[in-house]
């Protein structure tokens, strides 16, 4: 058997869009197969067809040498295909073991019995977790685990189905480098046991490190499949975008002037959160914030922005002390915060692109107490054009846009408030290469207007490539501030783990 899975000539149309057009995917047994493409290229649609969440219009699936029909998730699972979704599908209020065996609990006295065999479930889970090198207890509640540990539970669940093929949809997007290393350990362990992995990610370095084969898609079409060892980052980007993208980062010409913001002795009342945070941000500067997940980077920024309390510490804006108690204070002082979780704290999915754009700025459109449509439409169209947001109309619901375009709308939302200090929390997470570049250009433009930009990022190349200085946090403390021109990934990693353990 050459392939564990062959998907041939798969076509899928949605009203008005051809999401998949004659796509082919062939996965060899016991390999990691990366599936790549920009957002909207059709990767997720293809995987949903495989997993039985969508019905294909055309095409066939040959799995384990036999043609199969997959009508729902349950059938896929019983064939030995599992999927780890980008958003975790766990029940936070229940234990690890109940999450793993959800839908097929062991029963006391035969499969028809209504009673759950808790003891067997505990034992099986314990064995499973140990075989994967996971340290949590079967009875731990999911809500008490970190994101990466909760994700390992999902992987354990996939393994428990005796899956021969595991689809991982951006499993590393919320993990730190060490956690990714651990994930790769688990993947290698699985591959050694003959399991095949379809790995979807936007992170080139990761793809080249972990995968054996790479299939690239563009605009719903199959571009080709290559062995990973024959590819380079630039080749992948070129094939994904369909054009040369010579540089991943725009050329910058930083004009750094005096101090804009000074953060002095920020401390959280929560002893496990941040402490003694000091730094300055200068006009025209892009300051990167690096560190592991859990280093309290987001928390510090949220405290500055008035979303969290801090008990000691002062803020100086252009040398004057300021008080920020709530986000509205921060906005009035010229701060803007683009939050980390786009779906949770960014977009209003059921509102239009226009309303999403203007929501932070509505008071500027009041005319004798009522909102003026005219000015709102003018500004909206202008932003859509200047940021080249791809949307059918300004009245389209934002939830129908791709991730990159949603992010551009959010960017535009904050640009309209004319901020002096723009705080970006993982601004390019989960968006494709083309949109990333556009966001970098926006950051560069803002900095060149003499404003200050702070960017939290877990992606090293972006951190080093886009910023002037990088503040690295470790366990809630500032481990060091380095010059982006002279630093290295190794130096940042050493700083990030300085206070760990």
């Amino acid at each position: 058997m050459d392939y564990i899975l062959e998907m041939q000539n798969v076509t899928k149309t949605f009203p008005g869009v051809k999401a998949l057009d004659n796509v082919t995917l062939k996965v060899r047994p016991g390999t990691v197969h990366a599936l790549m493409g920009e957002n909207g290229a059709g990767k997720s649609t293809l995987m949903k067809c495989l997993f039985g969440l969508y019905n294909m219009d055309q095409g066939q699936i040959i799995y384990n040498g036999k043609e199969v029909q997959v009508n729902d998730a349950k059938e896929a699972l019983s064939l030995g295909i599992s999927m780890i979704h980008q958003e975790l599908h766990t029940n936070p209020h229940r234990s690890v073991m109940e999450n793993v065996w959800l839908g097929r609990y062991p029963r006391i006295g035969g499969p028809k019995s209504p009673f759950v065999d808790d003891k067997k479930m505990y034992k099986d889970t314990d064995k499973l977790l140990k075989s994967l090198g996971l340290t949590m207890k079967p009875t731990d509640l999911l809500r008490n685990l970190s994101v990466s540990r909760a994700q390992s539970v999902e992987i354990a669940k996939a393994v428990s189905y005796n899956s021969k093929l595991i689809i991982m949809d951006e499993p590393s997007s919320s993990l730190t480098e060490t956690e990714v290393a651990h994930l790769f350990g688990i993947i290698n362990n699985l591959v050694a046991k003959g399991v095949s992995i379809i790995y979807i990610s936007h992170k080139m370095e990761e793809i080249l490190k972990i995968s054996d084969d790479v299939t690239i898609m563009r605009d719903g079409q199959y571009v080709g499949t290559w062995e990973a060892k024959d590819l380079t980052t630039n080749m992948i980007i070129k094939k994904m975008v369909g054009r040369d993208l010579t540089n991943r980062f725009p050329a910058r010409n930083p004009q750094i002037a005096g101090e804009l913001l000074k953060v002095e002795n920020f401390n959280s009342p929560n002893p496990l959160s941040f402490k003694d945070v000091n730094f300055t941000l200068r006009k025209g500067e892009i300051l990167g914030i690096g560190g592991l997940v859990g280093a309290q980077r987001t928390e510090v920024m949220e405290a500055i922005y008035g979303l969290r309390v801090h008990d000691k510490g002062k803020l100086y804006l252009r040398g004057e002390e300021i008080q920020i108690k709530k986000p509205r204070d921060a906005m009035n002082k010229g701060f803007a915060l683009l939050t980390e979780e786009r779906r949770k704290t960014g977009i209003f999915p059921l509102l239009s692109v226009r309303d999403n754009l203007l929501i932070a700025n509505m008071k500027n459109y009041k005319k004798s107490g009522l909102l003026s449509d005219e000015q709102m439409n003018i500004d909206t169209e202008e932003q859509i054009k200047s940021l080249s947001i791809k949307t059918p109309t300004s009245r389209t619901l934002i939830q129908t846009l791709s991730g990159g375009n949603q992010q551009k709308v959010l960017f535009a939302r904050w640009l309209l408030t004319h901020p002096d200090i723009l705080i970006l929390d993982e601004p390019t997470r989960g968006i494709d290469v083309g949109a990333k570049y556009e966001i970098y250009v926006l950051m560069k433009d803002i900095a060149e207007q003499g404003k200050g930009v702070i960017m939290i990022s877990s992606e090293m190349p972006e951190l080093i490539g886009m910023t002037d200085r990088i503040l690295v946090m470790s366990e809630g403390r500032v481990a060091g501030i380095v010059d982006s021109k002279t630093t290295s990934q190794e130096e940042i990693m050493i700083l990030a783990t300085k206070f760990v353990g």
Partner: protein
């Protein structure tokens, strides 16, 4: 040994005590209220009062346990109170003394006692099926679906209650073997309390030891995950409504037996008491979290406070205000547990 000492210190550290207090805040507030009532009138701490409270709580426990299932999936059953009324009227109408003057069915011979009870429970189960189909299959929010069935049940029950020759007269003259279920005891233990205990054990086993029970928690905690894992969500929701409304109907039957009569207005507002008891007992209104022990505690405390406020002579209008405050406080404390402390 050093390790265990450290653990102990950890467990009793300041922040931990605060956390325990916070998690159980509403219980402490209510216990305090009970202490205050007992100080005002110490006679309340008598065996007779305790027995009264337990008997009054019994039907409420069944109704609250049913309600809990719906709250576990993030809904409520607003029809619960009216279903109590229907079950009470139906069972009472079929279990009157043969020599009673105003009989609902003047010419009917005596039925075996289990039959009318079973009929009432089946009626409850049927409403459960209807509610379940509307919520699970048509995806109507439980709040709206049961708001509708609340009105419909009341309408249907009132039409039945108005049938000649009864013509909306209160149903009385219930058979002693029936009223005995509500007010009699075996030894020192009231029969109605035994029913409540059996229902409680049944529900604990159902939720903690069966696949169906685990699936209810799964659907309530993360519907998507449950779906992806191949759990039949429609069947789970349908099933829980059937169990819920059957239990509520049993509560209605015993309510008729306990009070020795029934009208179409029986049970009005009971759904709110049941929701309140669940919430006070720690069942999260956002779904997926809740324990049987919590619900039973919630009912007992609520009934005791109800009883106690009347016992010490608090004006009924004030009683409503106090109960309202308790409910809002309970949810406030509950929500704080899950709100990320910022």
């Amino acid at each position: 040994m050093e390790n265990t000492d450290e653990l102990k210190i950890e467990r009793f550290s300041k922040s931990n005590i605060k956390k325990v207090l916070m998690d159980r805040a509403i219980l402490f507030v209510l216990l305090l209220l009970i202490v205050i009532i007992a100080i005002i009138n110490p006679k309340i701490l008598s065996f007779r009062v305790l027995r009264d409270v337990l008997m009054q709580s019994s039907t409420k426990i069944m109704i609250a346990l049913g309600m809990m299932l719906v709250i576990l999936i993030g809904g409520v059953d607003l029809g619960a109170g009216r279903l109590v009324g229907m079950a009470a009227v139906v069972s009472a109408s079929l279990l009157q003394n043969s020599d009673y003057i105003r009989r609902f069915y003047p010419n009917m011979g005596p039925l075996p006692i289990f039959l009318p009870i079973l009929i009432a429970i089946i009626i409850g189960a049927l409403w459960g099926i209807i509610n379940g189909i509307v919520v699970a299959k048509f995806q109507v929010p439980a709040f709206i679906a049961t708001l509708g069935s609340m009105l419909i049940i009341y309408g249907v029950n009132s039409i039945y209650f108005n049938l000649p020759p009864n013509n909306s007269q209160p149903i009385g003259g219930l058979r002693p073997d029936f009223t005995n279920l509500g007010s009699g005891s075996i030894g020192p233990i009231p029969i109605i309390l035994m029913f409540a205990i059996v229902c409680t054990i049944f529900m604990w086993v159902l939720l903690n030891k069966t696949v169906f029970g685990k699936n209810i928690y799964a659907v309530g905690g993360n519907k998507e995950a449950a779906m992806v894992s191949g759990i039949n969500i429609t069947l789970t929701i349908l099933g829980l409504f059937i169990v819920c409304d059957s239990l509520i109907a049993l509560g209605g039957v015993l309510e008729a037996a306990r009070t020795g009569g029934a009208t179409n207005n029986y049970g009005v507002g009971y759904e709110l008491d049941a929701i309140a008891a669940c919430v006070v007992g720690g069942v999260s209104v956002t779904g997926g979290v809740g324990k049987v022990s919590g619900v039973v505690t919630g009912v007992l405390i609520f009934t005791f406070i109800n009883y106690g406020l009347t016992f010490v002579g608090v004006n009924p209008y004030w009683q409503n205000i106090i109960k309202g405050l308790i409910i809002v406080a309970a949810v406030t404390f509950d929500i704080q547990k899950y709100v990320q402390k910022k």
